[in-house]
């Protein structure tokens, strides 16, 4: 029997998700693949509309019509999540995998107390637990995420909490059933920078303590550098580059990644360095072109880029990039090897 270390926590293979709108089929996710081991933190980076949230929703089974998974597989601890029936899904969500969302201001029900909503999360998956025990555990959880005065806080309503504190509550709610995987969909985007830092610290801390896996979805590379072990860069519904965090940051192998890195303001930059944005606008997902979706915005765009989708090129250590430039390099290398 293989031990836990061999089994992957999460395996996504060639996942395809489309939205069948009245205007046409929007191919939100066009075939992405990645894996996550126990205790690993994967960052998913991309612009709005890149499909990063959509694929996270598919994992949780939270996709709503007109969205549908039209291909690929999602395997959690060896089980096919897409084949779950309703009851299995209910058991799965909040219990084995938890998700926290972007906007803490609206994610909590305004008419119920925090205590109510926390204990509800616990008792949904632990039917036998007593009210008193559930209360106790909820308070422990609130302390765990760094909230003071927990007794008082349990009886308060969401509007009495600040944004950062609400996000902490969301995290507490997400962790209360000790899930093996936490999906965080842009959890810090709606918060102030200082609060952002606090929440990130909290999450790093929690991750070390609980050894759970995290999928961290963001458009902010700075955040990725803080917390992630691996990174997948998404563009127009496809993963254009994937690898360990250091590889992505120090050896970026895709023009989009390079562009993202270049457009980040850096504290340690030289005095008058220009911010170099990426030209152009994101792709219209209703009319996805046949070549590389990034082509019109790429300064190194070649003829083939406009015609065909580039394949992945392995660069070692799990680092891969889908770019014709890399293909070109590979082909040149092989040629040299053949000739030299």
């Amino acid at each position: 029997m293989s031990n836990t270390e061999d089994k992957k926590l999460l395996e996504i293979k060639d996942l395809k998700v489309s939205f069948f709108t009245p205007a046409g089929e929007v191919k939100a996710v066009g075939g992405i693949s990645y894996e996550l081991g126990y205790g690993e933190v994967m960052g998913i980076v991309g612009e709005s509309g890149s499909g990063k949230s959509v694929e996270a929703y598919s994992i949780m089974g939270l996709l709503q019509s007109p969205g549908k998974v039209i291909g690929g597989s999602i395997t959690f601890e060896g089980e096919d999540v897409l084949a779950y029936n309703k009851n299995q899904l209910i058991d799965f969500r909040g219990n084995k995998v938890s998700m926290i969302f972007q906007n803490p201001m609206t994610c909590l029900n305004p008419v119920y107390t925090i205590g109510n909503q926390l204990t509800e999360a616990l008792r949904a998956h632990n039917k036998e637990i007593s009210a008193a025990d559930a209360n106790k555990k909820s308070m422990e959880m609130l302390e765990f995420v760094g909230i003071n005065n927990v007794e008082k806080r349990m009886k308060q309503f969401p509007h009495e909490f600040s944004g950062g504190m609400r996000q902490r509550v969301m995290i507490a709610m997400g962790l209360i059933c000790s899930p093996k995987l936490l999906i965080a969909d842009e959890p810090t985007t709606a918060l102030d920078v200082t609060i952002q830092a606090q929440i990130l610290e909290l999450m790093k801390d929690l991750q070390k303590k609980t050894r759970m896996g995290i999928i961290f979805i963001t458009h902010n590379l700075g955040v990725v550098a803080e917390i992630c072990d691996k990174v997948s860069v998404m563009y127009a519904g496809k993963i254009v580059e994937q690898g360990l965090v250091n590889d992505i940051f120090y050896k970026p192998a895709h023009p989009y990644t390079i562009g993202l890195l270049r457009s980040m303001p850096r504290v340690d930059a030289d005095e008058y360095e220009r911010l170099i944005p990426i030209e152009g606008t994101p792709v219209d997902m209703l009319n996805t072109p046949s070549g590389c979706p990034f082509a019109p915005r790429c300064e190194k765009c070649m003829q083939v880029c406009l015609k065909r989708m580039p394949p992945y090129v392995e660069l070692g250590n799990g680092h891969r990039s889908a770019c014709w430039l890399r293909v070109q390099e590979e082909m040149n290398k092989k040629e040299e090897q053949a000739n030299g």
């Binding site: 293979k13 060639d14 066009g30 075939g31 992405i32 693949s33 496809k238 993963i239 792709v283 219209d284 209703l286 009319n287 072109p289 070549g291 082509a295 019109p296 190194k300 765009c301 070649m302 003829q303 083939v304 880029c305 406009l306 015609k307 065909r308 989708m309 580039p310 394949p311 992945y312 090129v313 392995e314 891969r320 889908a322 014709w324 293909v327 070109q328 590979e330 082909m331 092989k334 040629e335 053949a338």
Partner: protein, 431 residues
Amino acid sequence: MSDKIKRVKFGSMQPDIENLLELTPEDFAKASEEQKEGFITDRKSTSYWQDAWRRLRQNKVSMVALGIIVLFILFAFLGPRLVPYGYDQFIAGSENLYPWHYSLEDQALLDGVSGNDAERLETALATAEEEKGSELSSKEIAIIKARIKSGKLDIGEFKKENGIHLQLFGYSEAELERIENGEHVFPHVFGTDKYGRDIMVRIMIGTRVSMLVGICAAFLVLLIGATYGSISGFAGGKVDTVMMRVAELIYSVPEILVVLLISTALKPALVAFQNSGGGVLQRLVGLMGPNLISLFVAFGLLYWVTMARIIRGQILQLKEQEFVTAAKALGANSGRIIKKHLLPNCIGQIVVTTCLQIPEAIFLESFLSFLGVGVSAPMTSLGSMSADALKGVETYGYRLVIPALILSIMILAFNLFGDGLRDALDPRLKK
């Protein structure tokens, strides 16, 4: 280039790999800017209004509702010209006609079987003799006698036997005879009332009144509400708070009570005014009647709050947007900002709310007219016609049903169209 590129495990790009071997050096040449731009096929951009119109057109229910509204407008405003009867014209001999009639021959037959036993016996004997062609035997007479005695002749059966059926539209006997003589008589489509007034014309006038009242009241509300709301929203701060408190106060006043109150109070004054001279204003007052004027007064005083709130909400939202800050930075004054930047963006909401205000006004007017505190005779409205018909509802049910249905359909059409407008102008609200 005959070497293979390493196959990758996660094959989302599978189809391309097979063709890799066909790559040529030209493929790796740099692409020009034009080529990159041509790559992107932009969706045709549409303006907000085009988009809204497209959505509205696709909404079948709203289009049908619009059609009905247009029909009603034609009915109310063009109709009376087509019908040769006046709404106040007493037509002697045509009183109490139903919207259906029997042809002259059928009527004669029916007359033959109606009446008391003695009469019927006589008629039955006469008819039987005619049919037989000769004198009746005493046995036959006895049979007929017994049949008459045994009970009323089943009118329904009789009608079926003789192929008597109702014909559309109401005609008096005199009118039917005129038709027989070749004259063309316009039918009383909905019958006539007890004075012989053609009901259809009255309904047309009534519809006209209801619609005009609705539209004018809605515009009044629009004017007052939009002004109040935009000033309040734009001013913000203390002014806004005070204005909204006042609006809240007005909103909590039971409107119908105030309408009734105002009409009661204004009546003597308006009657005095009306009688004070023959000028245009006096005639207008006389035409509309004190109740209608009170209705407008009440509308102007009370009903604008919802519109004001909606506009204020919109303005508050828009105020924070950057194009307003930009306008201010360029030196535009408040009035200009409201007029040129804020209100045009509210037009969607304004149109929808106004459109939905019309059925509300019609509703109120008909309610008041029904109670007898609406339009005054001789002017008629659908509400007052229904009220009048209430007394004789058992015999003349159509006099109630027809105006009531027309009123409801009209209100329904406006509501449906208003709903459709709302869906079209703000897709986010689409349910």
